[in-house]
């Protein structure tokens, strides 16, 4: 059964000058030049709505619009639901998607408002007064100790220092291109923050950015060896991912080419399907063994991060992790992105990061172990205000993934799994990967983060806070709007007006 395309390409022939940029830039071949008619035509069925053509069209002759062709209106059986049934009835396969959950679940960040100082407590002008956005990640010492000479002993465990409370989250070399990785690595080095290799190993060209790299160890153990583990500033054990809690990473064989196969240490063309669990981890005790194996191999010089997806009993799990020897817990909310996930899992599994963060922070405080670990959150941090709200809810730092990709050109068309990303990000086809020039890409990431840093200090200044550390867990700076008692209770915040 033919499915009418969801989006249509509208070409304004009064504006089209037949430059054919749309045609040569569309990897899906949605545009075609008819020489006999001397005009460009489009095939909507091939369009994935990535906006490459419309962004590059020099005369703005192209726009992509939602198709007006709809089935009979039905709240229960939506167009999307029916189309998915038609697709599965045709293919017999699992539906696949890219990027994060797009469904209509509440976004709690949008229902939380920030405080500002008025009259009785002075606000601070960050343009005139010093503002501290620097943070440190790692376990805090339980007490200050003095040596025999009476001076305070350095009993700090390994720490990460960042210029602002943001890191680029795990995206593997393979799921994204070499040029995307280079952009992230160079931007991190310039900004004084960190990026994350994901589970694809680290390309030898990027070892020089080691101080700004978190190396990941995931269930597939792709690309993991002693030099790799020692090359980063921290090691992350990926137990789960917000986009697909409960299952492992998927990288189709078509993306395992050349350097990617060498970096992952697997043969070219083989699908890299990571196991759902780590086959050696079935308890917190097992996790502790892996944490200490990794600490042993790096001579106890690097903090170990344990990343989990935000799921129903995340607080209890985090409590276990905080006792397992991990230095940092990373929690990934259900809106987190991915290069490929089964649609049903992406759209229906996990919980919002705002609630997960609030309950984890509270649980660790209640148990007196909050200082055992730092807490990093991801899963759709979209702006500087999301960062500020997350920090006020108790996070030490935020991971951003989708936002970083958007800075590199991603238009969230959610077809990463096709491997034909027109923006040169989620693809390994050389003609497409060259579309992302890291010289431009890294600059755009640096710009975005610097802009956020300015905004973060502006918002802090408004609240009369001059250090990001003083904002951490400061939930009095937050008020909910339109939230019920239960939600407010979990978030640990008051309603606006209270």
């Amino acid at each position: 059964m033919k499915i009418y395309p969801e989006y249509e390409i509208m070409r304004n022939y009064d504006k089209c000058i037949n430059c054919r940029a749309c045609e040569n830039q569309c990897a899906n071949e949605a545009h075609e030049f008819l020489a006999d008619a001397n005009k460009l035509v489009c095939d909507d069925t091939k369009c994935v709505n990535c906006h490459r053509c419309s962004a590059l069209c020099p005369t703005r002759a192209i726009k992509i619009v939602k198709s007006g062709n709809t089935y009979k209106e039905n709240t229960n059986w939506s167009n999307k639901t029916l189309n998915e049934i038609y697709k599965q009835a045709e293919s017999g396969g699992v539906l696949l998607s890219g990027m994060g959950n797009p469904e209509n679940f509440p976004v709690y960040f949008d229902k939380i408002l920030l405080n500002a100082s008025q009259v009785t407590n002075p606000s601070i002008d960050p343009l005139r007064e010093p503002m501290e956005s620097k943070i440190h990640l790692g376990a805090r010492p339980k007490k200050a100790e003095r040596g025999a000479d009476g001076k305070i002993k350095n009993n700090l465990t390994p720490q990460l220092s960042l210029s602002m409370p943001v890191m680029f989250s795990a995206m593997s070399y393979g799921s994204i291109s070499y040029n995307a990785h280079e952009s992230l690595a160079r931007a991190s080095a310039e900004l004084g923050i960190l990026y994350n290799t994901g589970e694809g190993g680290l390309h030898e060209d990027f070892y020089k950015y080691g101080e700004n790299t978190i190396v990941q160890v995931a269930s597939g153990r792709f690309g993991v060896h002693k030099t790799y583990l020692n090359s980063g500033a921290a090691i992350e054990i990926k137990m789960g991912q917000g986009a697909k809690p409960g299952i492992g990473g998927h990288l189709p064989g078509t993306k395992i080419v050349g350097d990617i196969s060498a970096t992952r240490m697997i043969p070219e063309g083989t699908d890299a399907i990571s196991p759902a669990p780590h086959h050696d981890i079935y308890s917190i005790e097992d996790l502790r063994q892996l944490i200490y194996s990794l600490k042993e191999v790096t001579d106890y010089t690097k903090p170990v991060i344990v990343k989990i997806a935000a799921v129903h009993n995340v607080a209890a799990i985090a409590s276990g992790i905080a006792r397992s020897g991990a230095d940092i817990i990373a929690i990934d909310g259900f809106r987190g992105g991915t290069g490929a996930a089964p649609t049903r899992i992406r759209d229906n599994v996990g919980i919002p990061i705002e609630l997960a963060l609030a309950c984890v922070d509270q649980r660790l405080r209640d148990e007196g172990i909050r200082n055992n670990v730092s807490v990093v959150v991801g899963g759709s941090i979209r702006s500087s205000s999301d960062v500020v709200k997350a920090v006020a809810l108790g996070a030490d730092c935020c991971y951003i993934g989708s936002g970083a990709l958007a800075a590199l050109g991603c238009h969230l068309c959610r077809t990463c799994h096709h491997g034909k990303c027109n923006w040169g990000i989620a693809t390994q086809i050389p003609e497409l990967t060259k579309r992302l020039n890291p010289e431009l890409g890294h600059k755009r990431l640096v710009n975005l983060m610097n802009a956020w840093k300015h905004e973060i200090t502006e918002m802090m200044g408004g609240m009369g806070i001059n250090s990001i550390e003083s904002l951490k867990g400061n939930r009095l700076m937050l008020r909910g709007v339109g939230l019920n008692e239960k939600e407010l209770g979990i978030l640990g915040i008051k309603h606006a007006g209270e």
């Binding site: 504006k15 000058i17 430059c19 005369t59 060259k434 579309r435 992302l436 431009l440």
Partner: protein
């Protein structure tokens, strides 16, 4: 040098921090937008669609393409430009390091077209020759540089470079 062209300066002053258009085939996507932005550059129109609608463009920068490699080619503004040496009327000269055309003097003999080792000089619709003059009348950056979506064309000062 032809006697009637005496007094025409043929050696450009490259030492004086001259910015040039450089291309990097590694980042060229072959999208040909540079050609269109070039063609639009001195039309005097505000709207590109009005300027270039139903026109076969004749840009001064051209994409060369073969076997998946592409890059833009335009005037290199050589230190010792053969086109200027070859010009029989003094229609081509070097002004502030930029190889420039005086269309009034051009008699369309196309000696320069034959001389240029880069194929960067070509006949225009009016008959006189045309070539890249770095958009000197347009402002800070040449149109092709501004229009390139991937920074494959850059406008830089590389004074140590030798032609």
């Amino acid at each position: 040098m032809f006697p009637w062209a005496q007094g025409v300066k043929i050696t450009s002053n490259w030492g004086e921090n001259m910015k040039r258009v450089y291309v990097n085939e590694k980042w060229c996507l072959g999208c040909r937008l540079c050609e269109y932005y070039c063609a639009f550059a001195d039309t005097g129109e505000k709207d590109m669609a009005r300027a270039l609608k139903d026109i076969k463009i004749n840009p001064r920068i051209k994409i060369e393409e073969k076997d998946g490699i592409s890059f833009a080619v335009n005037c290199r503004h050589c230190r010792e430009p053969l086109c200027v040496k070859g010009c029989i009327t003094g229609g081509l000269s070097v002004i502030d390091g930029v190889v420039s055309i005086d269309k009034e003097k051009c008699v369309s003999c196309y000696t320069c077209v034959l001389c240029c080792p880069f194929g960067a000089v070509s006949p225009s619709e009016s008959g006189a020759v045309q070539k890249c003059e770095l958009c000197v009348n347009e402002g800070a950056h040449p149109a092709c540089v501004k229009g390139c979506p991937n920074a494959a064309i850059v406008y830089e000062d590389r004074t140590e470079a030798k032609m």
